[in-house]
């Protein structure tokens, strides 16, 4: 009799654990579609690209175009701006990595790794702190101490290669994948 009860108890334990486990699997299977539906839909994922004509941009000037719903900076740098960006010691930067989508992840943040042609700087205009659009420096209206961009939201400052120099932003402005179609036209994305 006692043996039978003990036996019963173990069978019950097994049933409890097994149905508990199956219940857990069922809950997870139902929860996942409910969670994943919030991720970008196939329409949002369909990669879009944009072509940007460069011929109207003067030296020292920058433009902003819209790419995948976000701002994209295209800046034609002056020789001084290039020289300034090249003179920086990469080891001294807050973020020593290039953050260039066309290069390996561990590429150092040298000026050469931030550009394809030294004169042209192409960046996502999204501050790596909390996503505001930084304001560009012009020769007559310098923004921040490094001549690049200043993000007014919380004061992040970027240099003339779009690298973070001061403020709360942790990373350099992202360089999106892009290619020169000709000397005066690029395709981004």
């Amino acid at each position: 009799m006692t043996a039978a009860t003990a036996d019963d108890a173990t069978r019950r334990d097994f049933l409890y654990v097994a149905s508990g486990a199956m219940g857990g699997v069922a809950v997870a299977a139902v929860a996942w579609p409910l969670i994943d539906q919030m991720n970008p839909s196939t329409a949002a994922l369909a990669l879009s690209s944009v072509e940007v004509p460069l011929d109207s941009i003067q030296v020292g000037q920058g433009i902003t175009v819209k790419w995948r719903g976000q701002p994209l900076f295209v800046r034609r740098r002056t020789p001084e701006e290039i020289a300034k960006a090249r003179a920086v010691d990469v080891a001294s930067l807050p973020d020593p990595l290039a953050n260039n989508d066309s290069l390996p992840e561990n590429a150092p943040a040298t000026d050469a790794n931030r550009t394809t042609k030294p004169e042209w700087l192409v960046l996502k205009g999204v501050c790596t702190h909390l996503g505001c659009t930084p304001t560009i420096s012009t020769p007559t209206d310098v923004q921040g101490e490094y001549g690049g961009w200043l993000c007014h939201c919380h004061g992040s400052q970027y240099d003339t290669a779009g690298r973070i120099r001061k403020g709360p932003a942790p990373r350099n402005l992202e360089v999106p994948p892009y290619a020169f179609l000709s000397d005066t036209r690029i395709k981004v994305g």
């Binding site: 007014h152 939201c153 004061g155 709360p168 942790p170």
Partner: protein
């Protein structure tokens, strides 16, 4: 809701209901005979006012939702239509928009009240913690609501706040993308925020039910912070407190109306009258006034992850107050040191709020405000984490009266 019921069904229908669904009994015990300390002062009227605010937001919100379109291309225009073409649309929207500010004003007074009189101390820890949960739900609801008119501040506020999650190592960017339903704030984001903005107030209503249920087990704390000793210490909720709460509710509605009718844009931000533009961030991003102190805490820390952690901790720490405060005495009336630290904390929150409203590089009388905000942040956390436990141990409280009735009767 607890304790022996004094309900005595009289009519046939009351008796019939009482053995099936004793709703009249519940209402009778919670809102009529409920024994309430007789010394509750002005600062105790805000619980009722908060319930009123929630009802106002739900009623005006449901009406707004009949005219509002949660679509990035249509939202801004639909709010313009509410303002100009829908009959009384301007009134309903201004009541809803200012109602959110009134709601927060009331909740802050309500929370500081609890802090001053030690209402979070045993046996009321859960009332306090449920309150912190309500406050969290309110901030989420107000944040989602502020996105809906799809102005510049809606869009960029949403961008900055959803980017908080990108500070989390490894999975952070995936969480942001998941929240957006895209690679940036956009149509998908607006649509889901509308869904959540409609949902959360009803969740709040349910949690308010728990809050009141938990309150009705030990009953109200009171300005003396001592327990009710005898029935002489209490009066029935009705008519004593229904009349008092009703009177102050009328005053509150007058105050509320002054904003709705004479300064409807007082709490508003001019940038939100410009439609959302994903390419241009407004020169200053400022959250609604009720979030400014937390914004100042975020900005006072020059590191993304730590800033976001501090912001979260600033709210989370509230839930631990019942155990951080080591004092045996509840009310600050009898706590000579804590009283001052409390008032300094109130001022600290106001200073932080002011810092949060100013540009990052602002300087006041030669002092950079970031520095002020850093001291403010230090006091904010120091107050809870250091002062509360230590002062509770070392302070000598003043003698407590023997009962609630004693100081009144002067026995």
């Amino acid at each position: 809701m607890s304790g022996p019921s004094t309900y005595n069904p009289k009519s046939g229908i009351e008796k019939w209901l009482d053995t099936r669904l004793p709703l009249p009994r519940l209402l009778h015990d919670t809102m009529n005979t409920f024994p309430t300390p007789k010394n509750l002062n002005f600062w105790y009227v805000f619980g009722g006012i908060l319930t009123f605010c929630l009802a106002v937001q739900i009623v005006t919100g449901i009406v707004l939702a009949m005219h509002y379109k949660p679509d990035a291309a249509l939202a801004f225009g639909s709010v313009e239509k509410i303002m100009r073409e829908v009959n009384y649309g301007w009134l309903i929207r201004y009541v809803h928009a200012n109602g959110a500010s009134m709601f927060f004003l009331a909740v802050y007074i309500h929370m500081f009240r609890g802090l001053y009189y030690g209402s979070y101390k045993a046996p009321r820890e859960l009332i306090w913690i449920i309150g912190v949960l309500i406050y969290l739900l309110m901030t989420a609801t107000a944040f989602f609501g502020y996105v809906l008119p799809w102005g510049q501040m809606s869009f960029w506020g949403a961008t900055v706040i959803t980017n908080f999650f990108s500070a989390i190592p490894l999975v952070g960017t995936h969480i942001s993308t998941w929240l957006w339903g895209d690679f940036a704030v956009g149509d998908a984001t607006l649509n889901r925020f509308f869904s959540l903005h409609y949902l959360l107030p009803f969740v709040i209503a349910a949690v308010v039910g728990l809050h009141i249920w938990a309150l009705h087990v030990p009953g109200n704390n009171n300005p003396l912070g001592i327990d009710v000793k005898s029935p002489q210490d209490t009066v029935p909720f009705h008519p004593y407190y229904t009349i008092k709460d009703g009177f102050y509710l009328v005053l509150f509605v007058i105050f509320f109306s002054l904003f709705v009718f004479y300064a409807p844009e007082f709490f508003g931000n001019a940038d939100n009258a410009i439609e959302a533009n994903p390419l241009v961030t407004p020169p200053e991003i400022v959250p609604e006034w009720y979030l400014l102190p937390f914004y100042a805490i975020l900005r006072s820390i020059p590191n993304k992850l730590l800033g976001v952690i501090a912001l979260g901790a600033a709210i989370l720490v509230l839930a631990f107050i019942p155990w951080l405060d080591t004092s045996r005495v509840r009310s600050c009336r009898f706590r000579p040191t804590m009283k001052w630290l409390f008032w300094f904390f109130v001022v600290d929150c106001l200073i932080l709020g002011y810092c949060g409203s100013q540009p990052v590089d602002a300087v006041l009388a030669g002092i950079p405000l970031v520095l002020v905000a850093r001291f403010g942040t230090a006091y904010y956390f120091g107050f809870f984490i250091l002062l509360m436990p230590l002062v509770g141990l070392f302070e000598t409280p003043k003698p407590l009266p023997a009962s609630i009735s004693q100081p009144v009767l002067g026995e």
